[in-house]
């Protein structure tokens, strides 16, 4: 991924007027999310890890956003979406069933565990899931495309963009609490917002992110 916000580190805002005690607590809790499963079994955890790697592949040159841990934490904490498709059971049940069904589909198609397949083989199965082409008793009547669309994608992408590493990538300043935004117009920027790099001004922007944007 190209570095659109060079030298920008949202965590540098921690002790500035941008963040207050509540914000610091929320971020600390996210950064301290346990890396071991509390809801999922060991085998579900391996499948989930492989699934996350295909939905949101991450660069190797930085610590990854712990996506499986965030999915696990969401279920453990009982944080619900506020709505649910009738064809999909509650989130914990749906995830367990979906991962088991994906593993079963992998065994049936390739004779091996999902996490041990090649990336191409994994993508092939995920495409079939996305298009509603995976069937079998393991799904328990849950349409696999609904599971893909309304559990897999939102839970994993929301987890990714809840992490400061993702915010650094997109130049986001974290929770607007207490400091939010004043200049709302298109292509306007508050001085405390990350400056986006353009090829022409890259160096100057990088310096600004390093010093001013806190």
């Amino acid at each position: 991924m190209t570095d659109r916000y060079p030298a920008y580190d949202v965590l540098a805002k921690r002790w500035t007027e941008s963040w207050n005690e509540v914000t610091r607590k929320v971020i600390d809790r996210r950064l301290a999310a346990p890396r071991e499963p509390r809801f999922f079994s060991a085998s579900e955890w391996r499948t989930l890890g492989a699934l996350c790697d295909r939905i949101l592949p991450q660069p190797k040159d930085r610590p990854p956003v712990p996506l499986p841990a965030y999915v696990d934490q969401k279920i453990t904490d009982g944080r619900l979406d506020g709505y649910r498709y009738a064809g999909i059971p509650p989130q914990g049940v749906a995830w367990r069933r979906g991962l088991a069904a994906l593993e079963a589909a992998s065994q049936e198609a390739h004779g091996g565990s999902f996490h041990a397949l090649s990336a191409e083989q994994q993508d092939g199965l995920l495409h079939r899931m996305q298009h509603g082409d995976l069937t079998g008793e393991a799904w328990g009547g849950m349409p696999c495309n609904l599971f893909f669309q309304h559990r897999v994608i939102p839970d994993i992408t929301h987890a990714y963009y809840a992490h400061p590493t993702a915010w650094n990538e997109i130049g986001f300043g974290g929770p607007a609490s207490p400091r939010g935004y004043v200049r709302m117009g298109l292509d306007r920027r508050d001085p405390w917002e990350a400056a986006e790099a353009t090829s022409r001004k890259e160096a100057a922007r990088a310096r600004r992110n390093d010093s001013d944007v806190v």
């Binding site: 007027e17 207490p178 400091r179 935004y181 200049r183 306007r188 920027r189």
Partner: protein
């Protein structure tokens, strides 16, 4: 709505010529009429006109200071996106400087540079109002409540018109021919200033009303600038049209109350900023996002002009 540049230029030219005509001392005309006026006018102290002019310089200065600080903050918020956004900072600073100079000056004659500065300030205010109108007309939705609330405010550049106009009128009052009552364009200066004050107050009330309505009058004190100044405007407007040699204690009371209200408004707005999330610690956002701290003293400036007008009318009764 579309603003034709030619119409703007034409308007500017007409105003410029009017201003130029007003700067010419109506000496001959005044002298011809002097015998008639001298019979009715009381003792004419040349210092009275200068005193009134200096009071008006102060009024123009207070409004200029308010506009300077307000436009600096708001245009900084707008990142000086358009280079012309620097203009009110320059002209308001000059108008403030001219007012300070005028306040210290005891000469009984208009000052050319002050005249030019005040005229430039008024014209800048006029152009700014045009810019803001144009800006709103270009936004999706045009003149919708949303855009009137959140786009460039129409009333803010109008305050610069008032500062320039008040200063310009101050120079006319100062330019009074010795032994003559001060007049502006043939009318009693006190009446003209009183009328301008009344209209200016009403315009400022409109601006405060719009923005306080946007703020849902969440604090009862937000009703003050839409209740007291309209009474003041009515009172001074009545004085502009009514008999001149009256004490008008009630009008003076409302004007003083309005003057005080302008400063109190700044105090309330400072508290308002503190009540935003993060308070004054988060001043870099809240000073821009919260209630405008320098805006309310525009009321004070207008009230001072109104008091000067009453003084003029009392010193030089014309009926």
């Amino acid at each position: 709505m579309r603003l034709e540049p030619a119409a703007g230029l034409g308007l500017g030219a007409i105003l410029g010529l009017t201003a130029l005509a007003l700067t010419l001392r109506p000496a001959t005309r005044a002298r011809a009429a002097s015998s008639r006026l001298a019979v009715r006018a009381p003792t004419l102290d040349p210092r009275a006109a200068v005193h009134a002019a200096r009071r008006m310089n102060r009024a123009a200065g207070v409004i200029a200071a308010s506009v300077l600080a307000d436009s600096a903050i708001e245009h900084y918020r707008g990142s000086f996106h358009n280079k012309a956004m620097v203009t009110p900072l320059v002209t308001a600073t000059l108008s403030l400087a001219a007012s300070v100079h005028g306040n210290a000056d005891k000469d009984a004659a208009a000052h050319r540079l002050r005249d030019a500065v005040y005229a430039a300030a008024a014209l800048t205010g006029l152009a700014g109002t045009g810019f803001h109108l144009f800006n709103i007309s270009q936004k999706p939705g045009g003149f919708s409540w949303q855009n009137l609330f959140y786009s460039a405010p129409l009333g803010a550049p109008a305050a610069l018109i008032l500062s320039g106009l008040m200063g310009f009128l101050a120079e006319r009052v100062r330019d009074t021919v010795p032994g003559q009552p001060p007049t502006i364009g043939g009318l009693s200066a006190g009446r003209v200033v009183a009328a301008v004050t009344s209209l200016g107050l009403l315009g400022t009330v409109g601006e405060a009303g719009l923005l306080h309505f946007r703020g849902a009058y969440h604090d009862p004190f937000m009703y003050l600038p839409v209740t007291i100044p309209p009474l003041t405007a009515a009172s001074i407007g009545h004085a502009a049209l009514g008999r001149s040699h009256r004490r008008r204690s009630l009008t003076r009371f409302w004007l003083r109350f309005t003057a005080l209200l302008g400063f109190a408004g700044t105090g309330f707005h400072i508290v308002g900023v503190a009540r935003n999330m993060g308070g004054w610690r988060n001043w870099r956002q809240n000073v821009l996002n919260g209630p405008p701290i320098p805006a309310p003293p525009s009321f004070t400036g207008l009230a001072l002009a109104g008091l000067a007008a009453l003084g003029l009318m009392q010193d030089h009764p014309d009926d």
